[in-house]
Symmetry: C2
Subunit: 234 residues, 2 copies
C-alpha cells in the first residue's frame, strides 16, 4: 500500500509521529479486512471454528482503536497541530471508530455462522456471499483511498454504497419470501438476515471513512450531503 | 438541567466558548430526546403524520452535529487546549456522533410506523412501546449525567443497558414465534423487528456517551471494558 502524502514539518519528530499513526491506522484497516473475509468465509461454509477465530480476534481491533485514539489525543496536546495536520488527526480518530464498528459487524456475521441454524439455507447463503464480496472490495478500496488520501476515489466509493444498499434490499425481499413459504426456516433465515444487515452496515462505514478522506483533502465536511451536491462542491 | 462543571480559565473568552459548546450539545440531546419520544408515539399509534414529522426533523440533528463538530475543531486549533479541556472537547465530538446515530434510529422507528404494515400487530407494538419507554428514560438519564458530568451516574447507566438488551432478546423471541404461527404477518412483523433493533441500538449509544463522561471525569478510556473492571478502576 502506498504511503499517505506527507506535508512538511519543521519538526522531524512530529513528522515521524504522524507517519507512525497513519501506519497504525492502515494496519488496523488490514486487520479488519481479514476479519471480514474470514467472517464471510465462515458463514459461506458454516465453519464454526473459523467463526470462533473471528469472534476471538475482535479484541485486537478494539485494542488498536483505543491505543490509536490515545496517541491522537497525545499528539494534539503536545504538538498543537493546526490546519491540515489537525484535520488529518481528526479524520483518523473518526476513521478508527468506523473501523472498530466494521469489526463489530464481522463478529455479528461470525455469530450467524456459529448459530449453525442456517444449515439448509444454501441459496440464501450464496446471495449473502456475493453481497459480502462486494462489501469486502468496497472496504479494500476505501482503505486504499485512505492510504493515498485520494478524494476522487473516495467520492466514487461513496456512490458505490448505493449499489450495496440495492443488493441488500433484494436479499431482504428474498428472505421474506422464503420465510413465508417455509415458516419452519424462520430462525435460520433470521440469522442470515442479521448477517445481511451487518454486511450492509460495512458499506455505510466505508462511506463514512470516504467522507473523512474528503474532509482531510478538501477541508470540507461532506457528511449528510448528497452525491450530486458533493460532486458539485469538490 | 444543571450546568456542567466549569474549570477555571485565564481566558474568559475561552470559558465562554466552552460553555457555549456544552450548551449546544445539551440542546442537541434535547432535540434527539424529542425525536425519540415522537418516533415511539408514532409507532405505538401508527400515526403516519407524526412519523413523517420525525423523518423531516432529522436534518436538524445532522446539522447540529456538523456545526458543533466544526466549532470543536476551531477551538482546538485556536485555543490549543490541554488536559481536562481537551478531554472535554474530545468527549463532546464523540458524544455528538452517537447523538446523531440515535437520531438515525429515530428515523428507522418512524419508518416502521410509516410502512403501516404492522396494523394487526397490536400486542407486538405494546412490547416495543415498553422497551421504547425504557430506552427514552435511559437517554434522559444519560443526558443528565452528561449535563452534570457525573461519572457515578454514567457507570450505573452503563449497567442499565444490559437490561434493555434482555428485553430486546425477549421481543425477538416473541416476534419469531409470531411469524412462525402466522406467516402472512411476516412483512408487518419485520417492520416491528427493525424498530426493536433500532431501540436496542439507542441503549448502546447511551452506553457509549456514558463512557465519554467517565473518560472526561476520570481521564480513563473505559471502552471495551467490562462493568466489573470499570467499577474496580474508578
Amino acid at each position: 500500500m502506498e504511503k499517505m502524502i506527507l506535508s512538511k514539518h519543521i519538526s522531524g519528530q512530529f513528522n515521524a509521529e504522524l507517519e507512525d499513526i497513519r501506519n497504525r491506522v492502515l494496519a488496523m484497516g488490514g486487520l479488519v479486512e481479514r476479519q471480514l473475509e474470514q467472517a464471510l468465509d465462515a458463514l459461506a461454509t458454516l465453519d464454526t471454528e473459523l467463526a470462533q477465530t473471528v469472534i476471538n480476534g475482535d479484541h485486537k481491533v478494539n485494542g488498536m482503536e483505543v491505543s490509536i485514539d490515545e496517541e491522537c489525543t497525545r499528539i494534539i496536546a503536545k504538538r498543537q497541530p493546526a490546519a491540515s495536520d489537525l484535520r488529518m488527526i481528526i479524520a483518523i480518530t473518526k476513521t478508527i471508530a468506523d473501523l472498530e464498528r466494521i469489526g463489530d459487524a464481522c463478529v455479528r456475521i461470525a455469530k450467524a455462522a456459529l448459530e449453525n441454524r442456517a444449515n439448509n439455507q444454501q441459496p440464501l447463503l450464496v446471495s449473502i456471499e456475493n453481497m459480502g464480496r462486494h462489501a469486502t472490495r468496497m472496504l479494500h478500496s476505501t482503505l486504499d483511498a485512505l492510504a493515498r488520501m485520494d478524494a476522487d476515489q473516495a467520492l466514487e466509493l461513496h456512490k458505490a454504497d448505493a449499489k450495496l444498499d440495492k443488493e441488500y434490499e433484494g436479499i431482504i425481499r428474498q428472505l421474506m419470501t422464503h420465510m413465508m413459504e417455509d415458516p419452519r426456516s424462520i430462525p435460520g433465515v433470521l440469522d442470515v438476515l442479521w448477517a445481511a444487515r451487518a454486511v450492509e452496515r460495512v458499506g455505510d462505514r466505508c462511506k463514512n471513512i470516504c467522507e473523512y478522506v474528503i474532509y482531510y483533502v478538501k477541508g470540507k465536511d461532506v457528511r449528510h450531503v448528497s452525491y450530486e451536491e458533493m460532486e458539485k462542491g469538490l
